[in-house]
Amino acid sequence: MKFTIQVNTGPFTHQASDSAYRFTLAALESGHEIHRIFFYHDGVNNATMMCAPPQDDRNLQVLWTELAAQYELDMVVCVAAAQRRGIMDKKESERNGKEFANIAPGFQISGLGQLVEAAVASDRLMVFGD
């Protein structure tokens, strides 16, 4: 089956992005296809490379980045939601007159159209977080 995953909450406060990660991993290991992972609302906070949790805690951003590299996943962060919350790539950072970019490897900034396209193209859209 072809899935698209939508992640609506940031890491740590809620379990939803952990669940999204584990679902994605389980789906891939079972031979399913992940068409896209789309980060919306506070879910964009999964994409910052500035997270530094204690060493004995999981780092979801790193887990996502590694999973994306291993399975060549398309991980998209909504540009409007990301700009509100301070998640930017180099291009957006410069365009907004900011000093830094903080988007982690494996994540791409793009528009909401990518969510709608993915929902049309996939058998199931799985939404994690409220």
Partner: protein, 135 residues
Amino acid sequence: MAEIKSFVYINRKAPHGTIYALESLEVVLIGAAFDQQVKLIFMDDGVYQLTKNQDPEGIGMKNFSKTYAALGDYDITEIYIDQESLEQRGLSIDDLQELVYEDEDDDWKEKSSMRLVSREQLASVIDSADVLLNF
């Protein structure tokens, strides 16, 4: 992307207090460019999103409630309001802004997009969805 799917957006939260109402509207408007079938549901505190005369200036927020009036121009013509949610909040359909569209199959006559429905009818709308987005 020739396939047409039925997108149902459920709006459950008040217009302010969280960002869900605004970021839902952003998906709806951008999604409209994809020529899919779109239905909107307003239930629970989501019915407040459509109330008339909103003025959030006092809390420093933008009044985006006027944007809903543009939904008809985006060919979004099916807007379902949960009657029970209105009643629970002491509201009636008259407290909501009237959303309309121009029917191209009927000499562009202006028609209401609003459908006041029961929970049972809502269930069948939700059941008809290929893609369900809950905000």
